[in-house]
């Protein structure tokens, strides 16, 4: 084996079975990976408390981790701990979404600042978002902001409920499709200034987490209707080229100070 690959023997020594070790080494052929960083990454994952099977899973999902320098990785892990991902949740996040360790600490801090200052989430809520939907930190902040504002203003949902229903696991399109379908059917209403509606809005959790059948039941619709609807609104939204600009203006004129 060449210089750029991990030595099988050193991997077996770390506690992997032979076949796990072979996979671990094969993955190290990933472009740009470096045996020194690969070894330190594997060690760091063990230090986090992951078992060999979990480590393999993490590397399979995200072989880019072999390119991260030891110091960087440590800094990122420390940063996540500081943001409230304590033992248990940190490990779950890393196993579920190892890409989080490829993101520079600075970028995560920017996302956190954004969530706190633009969307007024508490630090505790931000930790919840990191824990339940870590991918959110990689999303374009314009998207994130639009999604937040859509749910906050159009759907009238407050921050606590957004976190509880793991809003940021869903794409803007998923949220918008389901909400606007219910809205056009007369089953969802934007609350007025006093938070009142004429219909009883379903909870965000139910809107987002129902499987397709349960959602159709909630909307009392057929699968055919929802399918056509999604294709129609996709086109509607694409045509609303100025939508974003108009939305910004609207927020500025009458909405902004309402975020509380």
């Amino acid at each position: 084996s060449s210089q750029s690959e991990l030595a099988l023997s050193s991997v077996v020594e770390m506690g992997f079975t032979d076949s796990q070790a072979e996979q671990i080494c094969a993955l190290s052929r990933f472009r740009g990976s470096n045996p020194k960083h690969a070894l330190s990454t594997l060690t760091a994952l063990f230090v986090l408390g992951l078992n060999p099977a979990s480590v393999l899973k993490v590397i399979e999902k995200c072989p880019e981790l072999y390119t991260v320098k030891e110091a960087q990785l440590q800094q990122r892990i420390t940063n996540l701990r500081k943001l409230g991902l304590v033992e248990g949740s940190l490990q779950r996040v890393v196993v579920h979404y190892p890409q989080i360790l490829t993101v520079p600490a600075k970028r995560i801090r920017t996302a956190v600042t954004f969530l706190r200052e633009k969307c007024l989430f508490t630090m505790h809520q931000v930790t919840g978002i990191l824990r339940d939907s870590p991918a959110a930190v990689l999303e374009n902040t314009n998207h994130l902001e639009y999604k937040f504002q859509y749910v906050y203003f159009r759907m009238g949902v407050k921050q606590a409920e957004m976190v509880k229903s793991k809003l940021f696991r869903f794409s803007l399109d998923e949220v918008r499709n389901r909400h606007s379908f219910l809205e056009r059917r007369g089953l969802y209403q934007t609350p007025d200034k006093n938070g009142q509606t004429l219909v009883i809005n379903p909870r965000l959790d139910r809107v987002l987490h129902s499987d397709q059948d349960a959602f159709l039941k909630l909307a009392s619709a057929s699968a055919e209707e929802y399918d056509v609807f999604k294709r129609l609104v996709e086109r509607e939204w694409r045509q609303e080229e100025h939508q974003w600009a108009r939305w910004e203006k609207w927020i500025q004129e009458e909405g902004k100070e309402k975020i509380t």
Binding site: R154, G186, L232, W250
Partner: protein
């Protein structure tokens, strides 16, 4: 978009929605959410084929994936037994063709282009609007009155039947009548628009009975109404704007007068089709009921209502019809077949 910055506090579109929510949730019951969603989403069009155009569009339209819903009816299932008043039900006019994209297909038509004589190949309209024209069942040599005709979609459909005797086209609005004339010029060759064949007038249709009584074999009374779809989507020229409340409340009365005038204009044995593009029973069946009553009591005219179930049965795969209407038939919008609303009721003069 609903949350645009320029939105007034109570735009007519949201007043319309409030009004429909209150009225139609009762009238349509569990069907309303589905109809509501369709009304608020992009509608479907039909391309009324212009037989006068020399363009070889048929293959073109076919290649785009649409089909003429009138000639492509499924016939293998037995239609319902002809009911009372259905005795004179004849062949559908074979000349009216209207292309639609299949159920669930959201493709759009391209705008029609002029042929070498400057005539357009098709007219885009709600495909369900063709149904009142089919129901009218115009025969060769018939004298026909189109009482509220502008901008002229149904007039064009009637003209496709070619063998008309004489066609009277009327609309009380000057600007809309001039639009109608423009439509006619863009679709129909000059030699078919001579004074012997067609007359376009700008009169108040409610007085028609005073001008010409007992004359027409067929009368189409396509009245002004709350135009539900338009009222939900366009704030401009919206009948739910505060300033037009009086006009809106007066619609059923105006509709009744127009229908009565149409009934008087028809000859004994002649047929009348009343149509609207609203779901409102006050502008639909109620108007017909009152007109039947008034015609009998005050004008001594006996009418029978003609059963249209065979027609709706033929097109049940293209449109969603409201179930169990006690008088007339109605196309209700549905996302997969987003046509309508169109209400129609056909009557025949017995005396």
């Amino acid at each position: 978009e609903k949350w645009a910055a320029t939105r007034p506090k109570h735009p007519p579109t949201s007043l319309a929605l409030q009004h429909f929510d209150a009225a139609y949730s009762v009238h349509l019951g569990p069907l309303w959410p589905s109809v509501r969603c369709a009304l608020l989403s992009e509608r479907k069009y039909g391309a009324l084929f212009n037989n006068f155009s020399s363009d070889t569009l048929l293959e073109d339209l076919g290649a785009q994936g649409c089909r003429d819903f009138i000639s492509n009816v499924e016939t293998e299932v037995q239609p319902p037994e002809p009911a009372v008043g259905d005795s004179g039900y004849q062949q559908l006019s074979p000349n009216i063709r209207c292309f639609v994209f299949p159920r669930g297909d959201v493709s759009r038509f391209k705008p029609a282009r002029p042929d070498q004589d400057g005539l357009l190949g098709y007219y885009l309209m709600d495909a369900a609007s063709v149904l009142p024209c089919l129901a009218l069942n115009v025969q060769a040599g018939h004298n026909v009155l189109d009482l509220c005709a502008a901008p002229g979609g149904k007039t064009l459909a009637l003209l496709q039947t070619a063998s008309l005797g004489f066609l009277c086209v009327n609309d009380s609005s000057v600007s809309r009548t001039s639009r109608l004339r423009k439509v006619l010029r863009s679709y129909v060759p000059k030699q078919h628009l001579t004074d012997e064949k067609i007359r376009v007038t700008t009169l108040d249709g409610t007085h028609w009975g005073e001008i010409e009584r007992n004359v027409f074999d067929r009368v189409l009374v396509d009245v002004p109404c709350t135009t539900d779809r338009h009222s939900l989507l366009e704030d401009d020229n919206n009948i739910f704007s505060k300033s037009r409340t009086g006009e809106r409340r007066g619609l059923p009365q105006l509709q009744l007068q127009l229908l009565l005038a149409g009934i008087e204009a028809a000859c004994p044995g002649g047929e009348i089709v009343y149509s609207t593009c609203t779901l409102s029973p006050h502008q639909n069946a109620s108007v017909v009921e009152q007109a039947l009553h008034w015609a009998r009591e005050n004008h001594g005219i006996q009418l029978e209502v003609v059963d249209l179930r065979r027609l709706t049965h033929l097109f049940r795969n293209t449109f969603h019809f409201a179930p169990d209407l006690h008088l007339g038939e109605m196309v209700v919008p549905h996302l997969a077949a987003n046509f309508g609303p169109i209400y129609m009721c056909k009557m025949r003069r017995l005396t």
